[in-house]
Assembly symmetry: C2
Homo-oligomer: 336 residues x 2
């Protein structure tokens, strides 16, 4: 059902090229969402700086990489507004206003942030910028009056906190400016394991296959992929549970019957890892081939890519400006 | 020595009309500073919202009152740029960037904020907006590259924290964008006691004489003023230490010899409170008379006052825009 009055917003931190995990967990869905809703996709460079503030070069360079990733997988600038967070000062303004509506304790209780603080070993030295990034995220969504946000289950506490802030804002300033945010969650996917089979795919863990990887890079990574450590000889029966090659085949191989046959064969014994890996290499490279082609085209014309970002950013500023007029009116901050 | 290349910045939260305490502690000095430096004076409506977020009407109304106070005491818009904080989005942007450079623990250790949190009984429920207001203040100063900030001694920790942030910014982004802030502190004055003699003058404690008080209001307040509780009969010897009437006479009475004589007489006995209070009423009303007149003139033409704020705000945005270009360049956030 097409519903272009409702806004859907997603985004990515430009801290590295996007990978198959992003594709399965989020990017793929945006290609559908742009047909249904009015979709904004944000390159979150300001948020990327919260834990990369001492490496602005990395953030800067990855803006182009992420934009290329978007365009190459089929996020269509005619249907989706792609914008740069740092060019929307209204987000910072809204963040500052929202910070008055949330206590430090509430921020510290946010389970998503809590986990991240512990993963990053910030402990008591967590920066104010990092602790309050859920407030900044709330502003990202609210500034374009986002209603739907596709998230993984681990991100649900962020949506809950955002809704608390927006609900309080509407209540205190007595206007229904911001819609309640609804999470779009998916049951099956969300977390693609990395090639190590231990963790979800992540650039920082070095277990990722990037959308921009070459055929050779894909081949090398698949050959290193975690399968079944007890499947030593070809004749041994092998385990398909937790076997990354089969997890990927389940997702990317269109020939589901053949995958089922391979699984049975593997479980029985007599099917070597190299055989299934070679199949996966073909499957992934077939999948990535049109993406690579499109990427190469756009990469030839970086000015065109920046123009797409510029147009999207201007459109977002327009929407943000309208939201801020309502906000200023409600907060009695209109003077001139 | 005139030094128009250096910027001095001060400001006030528009949460109530300004009073004699503000005059003695800060406003008076701005009349001198505008002759020496390039002076910015900020009406800090965004900061006022950190502890008045649920009362935007109060903040809105007091913007005009504070502007009238400024103009009536002789802050000259030809020499001083008066601007509205909420109309400078660059301050919010800079605040968000600076939040990455300070830890939550460091914010909690700020003695000024610590005292305020305890005075306001916020305890563990302190809002993020309130805890981080020193960061926002740093941005206020930095956005116009302020170098001098006149403050009371209780505000010195704020300047220290601001300099930590600015020093880190310059270091991390490898550019000397922000000058080190120097506090301008005064030895003698700073804290005018309220008419109760117990606390410093403060609107919220109901012990203030406002710059906009009428002759009658001044007379009534002085008649209630704290003197020496043991000075019961006129013939009793009285104490001039901590005697608010004499503290005020020392500051506002131009006839210093006569004040010394009165003190001696009071200490010896034979000088009634009513006599010295009547003298103070005259002194204060003489002092306030030209201020009242000027205020009444400006109050007749609120559009002119708003125009002054508008011009000052536009000038500030110009300066802020130039600062942000340097910031964006250093942080590699220039894309279009």
């Amino acid at each position: 059902m097409i519903n272009k009055t409702d806004i859907v917003l997603t985004g990515d931190r430009p801290t590295g090229p996007l990978h198959l995990g992003h594709f399965v967990g989020s990017l793929q869905e945006r290609i559908n969402l742009q047909e249904i809703y009015t979709q904004y996709v944000m390159i979150a460079d300001v948020q990327a700086l919260t834990d990369n503030f001492d490496n602005p070069k990395k953030v800067h360079e990855n803006v182009m990489q992420v934009a290329l990733d978007y365009l190459s997988i089929g996020i269509d600038p005619k249907k989706t507004t792609i914008f740069l967070q740092s060019c929307i000062p209204e987000i910072a303004e809204l963040t500052v206003f929202f910070l008055n509506l949330v206590s430090i304790n509430r921020l510290k209780r946010n389970p998503t942030v809590k986990t991240e603080i512990s993963q990053k070993n910030y402990g008591e030295h967590v920066t104010a910028g990092f602790l309050m990034y859920p407030v900044s995220q709330t502003a990202d969504i609210a500034v374009v009056k986002g209603k739907f946000v596709p998230v993984g289950h681990d991100q649900l506490p962020m949506i809950e906190q955002a809704n608390e802030i927006l609900h309080d804002f509407n209540r205190i300033y007595q206007q229904e400016i911001f819609p309640k945010i609804e999470a779009i969650t998916k049951e099956n996917t969300g977390r693609l394991p990395g090639i190590d089979g231990k963790n979800k795919m992540s650039k920082s863990l070095g277990n990722a296959i990037f959308l921009s990887d070459s055929e050779d890079q894909v081949a090398k990574k698949v050959m290193k992929m975690y399968t079944d450590p007890n499947h030593i000889h070809v004749v041994d029966p092998g385990n398909v549970e937790g076997n990354v090659v089969f997890i990927y085949l389940d997702i990317f191989d269109q020939n589901k019957d053949e995958v089922e046959n391979l699984k049975l064969h593997y479980q029985k014994g007599g099917l070597g890892d190299v055989v299934i890996k070679k199949r996966l290499i073909d499957v992934l490279n077939n999948f990535l081939e049109p993406i690579r082609k499109k990427r190469a085209e756009f990469a030839k014309d970086p000015e065109k890519v920046m123009e797409i970002l510029k147009v999207g950013t201007e459109k977002t500023r327009q929407a943000a400006g309208e939201t801020m007029q309502e906000v200023r009116s409600a907060m009695k901050l209109q003077y001139f």
